[in-house]
């Protein structure tokens, strides 16, 4: 298990390095000079030169990449060219809002999805199973940002039950402001997880070890909990791990639509200002988190199922 974990960890580090290099390379392959693009057409040549030096763009490319990696290892993501603040300060100021949003969305949707999927599989073929199936397909078909727009339309504009703007003050205010955004992100995951858990439950329920357990006279509740669910939940865990990337994408829209602070809103506003250091820093941190999430989900699956540890 430790050997497996080490292997996965090294691979993850390698992936982050390649991803970062790809991004920095892209910055240089793209035609046009970032400093000129950023300052606009009316900037003086002196100002452009000054910004180029400030961003380190006057150095040769290999030197730039090496210094970039050196800086990242020191936890320095560069400075915001407009305000002069550290990019890491700006990013880590916004990050908690997004992480809380994603965590709440994933928690409620995974819990409900597993319960519904389990229920559906145990009652496969009944009208309730069919209804849940239709509902899951329906929710999966609606992209998160469309769902967010409808959440605003129905619950904030028409019914006026819940707030739709900002992150709220204090714990209670924050929680109330989280309801609609977390609903919009999570709802399609309920469908995904439920469908996946249902399918793998049905598969595991026919497995020989379950028949064996039943013939030993174990209670149905124990069979489901210990012998079926533990295996059946694996595809869902993998899905949630790789799904963190989709959750970040969804968070971008939800933060813009609900005017919430967060890393997605930060990226959108920095792209609008063409603030490259902030865009790069934010994308970097997001990518690292996603790779970490994939690693964690792989390790959880390996913990649940020894067979997975051998296949890298």
């Amino acid at each position: 298990m430790i050997y497996y974990a080490m292997q996965r960890f090294l691979l993850s580090v390698l992936i982050v390095i390649v991803a970062i290099s790809a991004l920095t390379l892209m910055l240089h392959v793209v035609p046009g000079d970032p400093a000129t693009m950023m300052l606009g057409a009316r900037a003086t040549p002196e100002l452009i030169e000054q910004t180029r030096v400030a961003m380190g763009l006057d150095q040769p490319l290999p030197v730039q990449i090496v210094t970039f990696f050196g800086r990242i290892l020191q936890g320095n993501l560069g400075t915001d060219v407009f305000t002069g603040r550290d990019v890491s300060d700006i990013v880590f100021e916004q990050l908690p809002y997004t992480l809380v949003l994603i965590a709440v969305s994933i928690l409620w949707s995974a819990t409900l999805g597993i319960v519904l999927g389990c229920y559906s599989a145990l009652r496969a073929g009944t009208w309730l199973d069919t209804l849940l199936g239709i509902l899951s397909v329906g929710t999966i078909s609606i992209p998160a940002f469309v769902m967010a727009l409808y959440a605003v339309l129905i619950f904030a504009v028409s019914l006026d039950w819940l707030p739709a703007i900002g992150a709220g003050q204090g714990f209670f205010g924050g929680a109330v402001h989280l309801i609609l955004p977390a609903f919009a992100i999570g709802i399609s995951w309920v469908g995904y997880v439920a469908r996946m858990v249902r399918a793998s439950m049905l598969e595991v329920m026919g497995a020989p070890h379950v028949r064996m357990a039943r013939s030993f006279g174990l209670t149905e509740a124990r069979i489901v909990r210990v012998y079926i669910l533990k295996i059946a939940v694996q595809p869902a865990v993998t899905l949630l791990g790789t799904g963190v990337a989709h959750l970040f994408s969804a968070a971008v829209f939800v933060e813009v639509i609900f005017a919430r602070p967060g890393i997605g809103a930060l990226i959108v506003s920095s792209v609008n200002e063409r603030n490259y250091p902030v865009v790069l820093g934010a994308v970097l941190v997001t990518t690292a988190i996603i790779v970490l999430a994939t690693l964690v989900s792989d390790l959880v699956v390996a913990l649940l199922d020894p067979r997975q540890r051998e296949a890298l």
Partner: protein, 293 residues
């Protein structure tokens, strides 16, 4: 010889007949097929169907609800929403075709290289695929837009690059399996060149499942296009896109729900249509794939 063959061969249904038969026998497949046909027809014939110029302002009152004059109502500057939805469908289909075409050909090339090439190349490409996959599509798209500016071409590029790893991985696995298949080994033993094996045997075996997967990815591509356009980072405003319609609707969401409804319903229909059709096609042609997904 040829006479013997004709005598033995049974009447084989054509590929098209088999497909249509399979779709007809599957309820959701039929629904999906008709939805896709409807959407494609609407996109192709949009210039002839649309009652107004999609960019013409004040064709009627502002933010009017649906009526006989304006089937889906009008937006905040009185543009006809039905005409705009049709024009947006054209953009969406164009992006989907171009991006998936590019992703498929790039994925095919890289996947074959990884699957049939030397081990180090395989490992290198796999690492590259994993790295590319670790960017969230929208976040990666925004980073690219920051660098090259928003345009239709940028959207196509972003979608193509983020989908390449998925196809390349599948092709790699298939190519590796086929490389050791008996009929391929026999062919090689008879002195066939690598290109012949690739194009005559490997490609046809890989292409079918791949096209089905690509058709199921259409909704994803369209959601990405609409999403980027919604953020103002995709298709630029004079060109209508479902995302642009949704953004206009969002800005005036307290005045009228109709623009949001008009912009979102087509996205949902596209998703349902292509998903249902893709699932049905997959079941017809390759029952094994059903489990793999």
């Amino acid at each position: 010889m040829s006479q013997v063959q004709t005598a033995v061969s049974l009447p084989q249904p054509t590929l098209l007949a088999r497909t249509l038969q399979g779709l007809a026998g599957n309820r959701t497949g039929t629904i999906g097929f008709f939805l896709v046909a409807l959407i494609l027809a609407a996109a192709i014939f949009a210039p002839w169907i649309s009652p107004y110029d999609p960019a013409a302002i004040m064709t009627g009152p502002r933010m009017a609800p649906p009526s006989f004059d304006h089937w889906l109502g009008t937006d905040h500057i009185g543009r006809d929403l039905f005409s705009r939805v049709l024009a947006g469908g054209q953009v969406a289909m164009l992006v989907a075709a171009a991006a998936l075409g590019a992703a498929l050909s790039l994925g095919l090339a890289l996947g074959l290289m990884a699957g049939l090439g030397p081990r180090w190349l395989d490992n290198l490409l796999l690492l590259l695929f994993d790295a590319l996959r670790s960017f969230p599509t929208i976040v990666f798209g925004l980073a690219v837009v920051a660098l090259v500016g928003p345009s239709l071409l940028t959207v196509i590029m972003v979608v193509a690059i983020t989908s390449v790893p998925i196809y390349a991985r599948i092709i790699r696995t298939q190519a590796q399996a086929l490389r050791n298949a008996e009929f391929v080994m026999a062919e090689r033993a008879m002195g066939a060149s690598l290109p012949r094996v690739l194009f005559v045997h490997v490609l046809p075996n890989v292409l079918g499942p791949l096209l089905i997967l690509a058709s199921m990815d259409v909704p994803l591509v369209i959601a990405t296009e609409a999403g980027l356009s919604f953020l103002g980072m995709g298709v630029r405003p004079p060109t209508p896109s479902w995302g642009v319609i949704l953004n206009d609707g969002y800005n005036f969401i307290r005045n009228s729900p109709w623009p949001v409804i008009a912009g979102s319903v087509p996205i949902v229909l596209v998703t349902l249509g292509f998903t249902f059709m893709g699932e049905a096609l997959r079941d017809i042609f390759d029952p094994r794939l059903q489990k793999a997904n």
